[in-house]
């Protein structure tokens, strides 16, 4: 049993070089992730670090949870937490792997850690957008942020990838996929997340509960209270 514990520690040490950062570097990389590079003729350097991306994913989870609270969605926080963590980590790991696979097909020069790092830092734009738009509820503001902030971080990732790929078709495939997935994810997080969770709730509740007309953030407090009491009354009669 001791040898198993030691082998676990040995595995942790494999990750140690990826966490070797200073706060100044993390801050610099966060700001850089919003600035698209101009020079795409020679490969841009990507820092293969995992601390920043990991913290950004956790921050995104926290922001999503905060968004649920401010939108007054009455939910089972347990399911919501699992869904939030699963969505964010699934996106980060899944899309990184998928783009890495595409990069392998398109002969792009990028390693898995670099891809994880690039996409992780690209989530910084998502964090900012969601943090602002969960607190200030205007759809038009969200669209502006989606285009500007989301667009900037996508452009940066695309530019870095373009600098590391040769050939027009390959560049198009790789960057088009990444841009589409990244922008659509932000859209998904803003709009569909509430509906996804409500869908889970409705399927688990069964057909007996009245459908909540829960257009997020548009319901005044009074009708929320009415819905609560209705739900409680129905639950009591069950």
């Amino acid at each position: 049993k001791a040898s198993r514990a030691f082998s676990l520690y040995a595995n942790i040490d494999i990750l140690r070089p990826y966490f070797d950062v200073e706060p100044v570097q993390v801050r610099a990389r966060l700001l850089e992730s919003m600035i698209p590079v101009k020079m795409i003729n020679f490969p841009q350097k990507i820092a293969g670090e995992l601390y920043g991306p990991l913290m950004l994913v956790f921050t995104l989870v926290a922001i999503l949870l905060h968004g649920m609270k401010t939108s007054d969605t009455i939910i089972r926080e347990g399911t919501l937490m699992g869904t939030a963590i699963g969505t964010c980590f699934g996106y980060w790991l899944g899309v990184s792997s998928f783009i890495y696979f595409l990069a392998y097909l398109c002969n792009a020069q990028i390693t898995m850690v670099q891809m994880l790092s690039l996409l992780g830092y690209g989530l910084f734009g998502h964090c900012i957008t969601l943090f602002v738009t969960y607190n200030i509820h205007f759809h038009s503001l969200f669209y502006v942020f989606w285009l500007v902030v989301g667009g900037l971080s996508t452009l940066r990732m695309v530019a870095v990838l373009v600098s590391r790929t040769v050939g027009h078709t390959q560049r198009l495939i790789l960057c088009g996929t990444l841009a589409a997935l990244h922008m659509l994810f932000l859209l998904y997080l803003h709009f569909a997340y509430h509906k996804v969770v409500e869908g889970i709730l409705d399927t688990l509740e069964g057909p007996n509960m009245p459908p909540f007309q829960r257009v997020a953030r548009d319901i005044p407090v009074v009708s929320n209270a009415v819905l609560n009491t209705t739900a409680k009354a129905v639950a009591l009669t069950l």
Binding site: T59, A62, I74, R76
Partner: protein, 217 residues
């Protein structure tokens, strides 16, 4: 060793001395192993240790008592009581009650493990269980906040109660983060303290969120 080749011990010189290692006088407790003491003594000693650590958390000073004799009893008790208090907080059907016990438990322990791994990977000198111990004990202020929130919610659940709960939870969240930072940040290289503090901040933020959004049945 060439010079020693001609050294020989003549047989008429007796070799004397004592081979046995002198045994010093034993201190009284060594005779008395902890297996032989009454159970009450063991429990009281452990309870006192846990209580002392609670006091250290509530008044975080630079002391190494939390770090030196780590134990996980306190965190376990706090985690279980917090998870129990967070039960039964849903307005929906009676089958599920807010964050389920297992969810809260898993989130707290996995969060603590991840923060510990992070601080170790950043080059921390603290051991795995010491860090778990500190993070677990620093949930104490948030457990107190949960207790207060439940009492306030008994009185009513309007805007005033929400504001009271918000203030209490924010204050306790700040206290937890400061307390754990006081213990953990010292074990890091000085320029990387911010990197270690940030996930702790997030961890307690998520727990505070769970406490603040708790609405009883």
């Amino acid at each position: 060793f060439a010079g020693l080749a001609d050294v020989s011990i003549s047989e008429d010189i007796p070799v004397e001395g004592e081979i046995t290692v002198p045994v010093g006088s034993r201190s009284p407790d060594e005779d008395y192993s902890t297996l032989d003491e009454p159970v009450r003594d063991t429990i009281m000693r452990d309870l006192k240790a846990v209580g002392k650590k609670f006091v250290h958390v509530m008044y975080p000073k630079k002391s190494s008592a939390l770090l030196r004799d780590w134990d996980l009893w306190g965190p376990l008790v706090l985690c279980v009581s917090l998870a129990l208090m967070l039960q039964g907080g849903s307005a929906d059907s009676k089958d599920d009650g807010g964050p389920q016990f297992a969810e809260v438990f898993v989130i707290i322990w996995f969060g603590a493990v991840i923060i510990t791994l992070n601080s170790k990977l950043l080059g921390g000198t603290i051991s795995f269980f010491q860090s778990l111990c500190v993070l677990g004990y620093c949930i104490l202020p948030l457990t107190v906040a949960m207790l207060v929130c439940r009492l306030v919610l008994l009185a009513g659940s309007g805007t005033v109660s929400f504001i009271i709960r918000l203030i209490v939870v924010v204050a306790m969240f700040g206290w937890s983060t400061l307390a754990s930072t006081a213990f953990l940040a010292d074990s890091q290289p000085p320029n990387r303290k911010a990197l270690v503090v940030y996930p702790i901040f997030l961890f307690y933020f998520v727990i505070s969120w769970m406490i603040l959004t708790f609405t009883p049945q």
